[in-house]
């Protein structure tokens, strides 16, 4: 039976679904720009830009990433169900460029995210929980190479489990983690809100003595140690814009991912779908920015901004400058959630809050391979990768090929990260390489209205213009400038730790590997009578 929907009529036909919940899309984006796992982690690097301030940097980054959201929402609405960067770039720029950029950015480099996830698991889960349980030696062990390697293997086991149970099972877990994690964060914020700085100093000193055998006024010692090391934290009220902008290439480590894995299913009705896709990512980004601002204010009020920066400076000095680093009274990464729980002198309470906060990790960890699996499948369907890369076990329905291509190299990379001095520096490229892939997609989006004009004109985004120019192109130009700024800073400024020769060579090897695979595929397929160049060529209409 035919029915009327908002001024037009639909009949009974497969796939005519109602609009999906924008809130669910928000959860996915919100977890991708993860305020706790990625955010709190990278914020702790703030002292590396001593004159910069995290608060304005987070807001400016949010504004600039919004343009990225506009671009990606446009690509998703114009080419739904395409599966992401690889297919968009293939259709606009060609298969070769798309393969090299997408495979490097969404496959090879994600091997390097596994030990980063492992490191975050170690410092945000194992170490604080074990120390709360009165096992400081075990907590510190998780900071050793073997501890980090073990954490990486735990991450891999969980991610493999998420892939095995499928997206629906993972989405269900993610939703539970979202609510549980929010409860944990609300408790942390509440503790910081009602606690005074005097209470915090007292709690910090008490726990440092009780858990780690420190003595005296450890809070004051932390500040003093930082000063002696050569880092003098700036005042919270001082927010110079110029130096703060230099923090942006760090903060993109958590704020650059609202579009992670975003796609659009079902029939595309029109502009409302564009707005829904945009809203999910936009609010995921901006709620995270808002949480960051609240966090900075609460930290400054209760922990003391100078203490927060000093504690982080001292910790990272022990990692990157161990010869000159001050001795740590609390020999762990100063996890803000753990420090906040110390305001309540109750081990069970502290443990519960830390477990709730760990849901930010468990709900998020499955994101690491999600996009990789899509890229591997898409490349296999395009015959660039062998068919087995997209194979699925007939019994368990697990994508065994993609899983092997992700897991095995990740184990090797995690091992090198843990045991090979200097390799960890190379993983700082993790953000850089994905930014290059984004650059490819954003460039494709910018020229999309002219390069594939028919496709653009038939899309719901064609109506959005700025001064007569397509919105996607205008937002694309701004995003290109933003990404180029970050790339330029990463490559030229030692602050970010990736501008060394080794790092550059390593990146080039990854790109060369992708290029070699593509060239081999072209040659092999040509011999089989398959012209890969034909895959995305448009058939004439007339």
């Amino acid at each position: 039976m035919a029915g009327e929907t908002a001024g037009y009529f639909v009949r009974r036909a497969t796939g005519l679904v109602r609009a999906w919940s924008g809130f669910d899309a928000f959860i996915y984006a919100f977890f991708s720009v993860n305020f706790v796992t990625l955010g709190m982690y990278i914020m702790s690097f703030g002292p590396f830009v001593p004159k910069g301030h995290l608060l304005p940097a987070a807001i400016i980054t949010g504004v600039l990433v919004t343009f990225l959201v506009i671009v990606y929402a446009g690509l998703i609405a114009a080419m739904p169900r395409a599966g992401g960067d690889y297919v968009w770039q293939s259709r606009i720029l060609g298969g070769g460029i798309a393969f090299v950029l997408a495979v490097t950015g969404w496959w090879f480099i994600l091997w390097h995210w596994v030990p980063i996830y492992g490191n975050i698991l170690s410092i945000q889960f194992f170490a604080p929980i074990l120390s709360t349980l009165g096992r400081p030696a075990a907590a510190q062990w998780f900071g050793t190479p073997t501890g980090i390697f073990l954490s990486s293997l735990v991450v891999l086991a969980f991610v493999a489990y998420y892939i095995a149970i499928g997206m629906e099972g993972y989405a269900r877990i993610q939703k539970a983690c979202f609510w549980g994690g929010l409860v944990g964060l609300a408790i942390v914020f509440l503790l910081l809100l009602v606690g005074s700085q005097a209470q915090f100093q007292q709690a910090f000193n008490r726990e440092a003595v009780s858990l780690f055998g420190a003595s005296g006024d450890v809070y004051a010692q932390t500040l003093e140690a930082s000063r002696k090391y050569g880092f003098t934290p700036g005042a919270f009220g001082s927010m110079p814009l110029g130096p703060s902008i230099l923090l942006i290439p760090m903060l993109v480590f958590y704020l650059l991912w609202p579009n992670w894995g975003a796609t659009l299913y079902g029939e595309v009705r029109g502009a409302s779908d564009y707005r829904r896709v945009f809203s999910g990512m936009f609010w995921g980004l901006w709620v995270t920015v808002a949480l960051s601002v609240v966090f900075f204010l609460l930290v400054a009020k209760t922990m003391g901004w100078d203490f927060y920066l000093a504690a982080n400076s001292n910790y990272w000095a022990t990692i990157y400058d161990p010869k000159n680093a001050p001795a740590l009274a609390v020999p762990l990464w100063p996890y803000p959630a753990m420090l906040a729980t110390w305001l309540v002198n109750n081990r069970a309470f502290q443990l519960i809050v830390l477990l709730l906060m760990s849901l930010w990790f468990w709900g998020w960890s499955g994101t690491v391979f999600l996009s990789s699996t899509r890229v591997i499948f898409a490349a296999a369907f395009d015959r660039v990768l062998p068919e087995w890369a997209a194979s699925v076990s007939p019994k368990s329905h697990v994508p065994t090929g993609a899983l092997v291509l992700m897991v095995v190299p990740s184990i090797v990379v995690s091992y090198l990260y843990a045991y090979r001095p200097g390799f960890a520096t190379l993983t700082l490229d993790a953000t850089l390489v994905i930014a290059v892939t984004y650059l490819g997609s954003v460039f494709a989006a910018t020229i999309f209205p002219w390069r594939r004009s028919q496709l653009y004109e038939s899309s719901p985004i064609a109506r959005y213009k700025v001064a007569g120019l397509p919105l996607i192109s205008v937002a694309g130009v701004i995003t290109i400038a933003f990404l180029l700024f970050n790339l330029w800073k990463w490559v030229t400024d030692a602050t970010y730790g990736v501008n060394n020769r080794q790092s550059g060579v390593y990146m080039l090897v990854l790109y060369a590997l992708a290029l070699v695979i593509y060239i081999i595929a072209r040659v092999v397929r040509a011999r089989q009578g398959i012209d890969l160049a034909r895959i995305h060529s448009e058939i004439p209409v007339e």
């Binding site: 005519l16 502009a271 369907f381 034909r534």
Partner: protein, 311 residues
């Protein structure tokens, strides 16, 4: 060796139909196969209001001042895969209260569009050494078959064995039950019987092509967005569930054709192996005007090469 081009689920898109007709020369194919669901899903009223027209298209309200603008809008609607109808304000109100009239209008528009498409096919395919098969899908009304049957250049493939040129093919657009209660759906047992009836007429099922609109269950080619009771995608559209047919799966596993061609689930573009059989679902992006398809080279020994294309 035969080169087949297979596309599916174009759902009324004028652009995709034109591309389909051009795909033979573009990909140097010997045979064109359209897998099903040819007809559009929506009817867009263009409402006369005095000397001008108003239309709600893709969430946007357009006011059309001239006949030229109305025609251009009709073309845009057709390119998107929808049907348009010019009505007065009073007729629009009447339509809103009369689902049977809307249904009849749909039928009339489908038929006239299809006739126009077939005329275009005559023009494009006549004289070419190219065979073209069409098999309506579960979303297509039964009247569609009659219209196709009248074509001199296109063969209706539903429910029968056809010879592609040394390789036989069976086809059905019927599917297992869907939440939308479409025209050609039936219980799994019945679908199995339909398939077996055709298989019985094949010389050798292991050297045949199965063109079955519905993909096999749990093959990855059948993963559709998981829906709640109100047909709303769950978890922001991220969660997918297998919705394919067990009868189709059983038939492929039992008879092991060289190739099975599927559609139905637009999102599930992909390739799967079921035993020795290669199963393909090129997916569909009909609303964007991109014709997704599969280019396959076959002979009686099997599939020599294949690739999924987006043209």
């Amino acid at each position: 060796m035969l080169r087949l081009f297979f596309a599916t689920d174009i759902h009324g898109s004028d652009v995709c139909w034109r591309k389909f007709l051009n795909a033979g020369s573009f990909y140097r194919a010997d045979v064109l196969i359209l897998g099903g669901d040819m007809t559009g899903k929506a009817l867009i009223p263009i409402v006369r209001d005095g000397g001008r027209h108003e239309v709600l298209f893709r969430d946007d309200r357009h006011v059309l001042e001239t006949e030229q603008e109305v025609r251009a809008m009709e073309d845009r609607i057709a390119a998107r895969g929808y049907y348009s109808v010019r009505v007065s304000r009073g007729e629009m109100i009447a339509l809103q209260g009369d689902p049977a009239r809307v249904e009849a209008l749909f039928a009339e528009r489908m038929q006239s569009t299809l006739e126009r498409w077939l005329a275009l096919a005559e023009e494009k395919l006549r004289g070419q050494h190219l065979r073209c098969f069409v098999c309506p899908g579960n979303d297509d009304r039964f009247e569609v078959d009659e219209v196709i049957r009248r074509s001199a250049v296109i063969d209706l493939a539903e429910g029968r064995v056809v010879d592609l040129g040394g390789v036989e093919m069976i086809s059905t657009g019927w599917s297992n039950p869907t939440p939308w209660q479409t025209y050609r759906e039936c219980p799994e047992e019945e679908l199995g019987t339909r398939i077996e009836r055709m298989v019985a007429q094949l010389r050798d099922p292991t050297q045949a092509v199965f063109n079955l609109h519905c993909p096999p269950y749990r093959s990855q080619l059948d993963e559709a967005p998981a829906l709640d009771r109100e047909l709303r995608p769950l978890y922001g559209g991220q969660a997918v569930r297998p919705v394919g047919s067990t009868a189709v799966r059983d038939a492929i596993l039992r008879h092991q054709p060289i190739l099975s061609l599927h559609g139905h689930i637009h999102e599930a573009r992909g390739v799967a192996r079921l035993g020795r059989s290669l199963a393909l679902n090129p997916g569909s992006s009909y609303e964007t005007g991109i014709l997704q398809g599969a280019l396959v080279e076959v002979d009686t020994r099997g599939v020599r090469s294949y690739m999924l294309v987006a043209g």
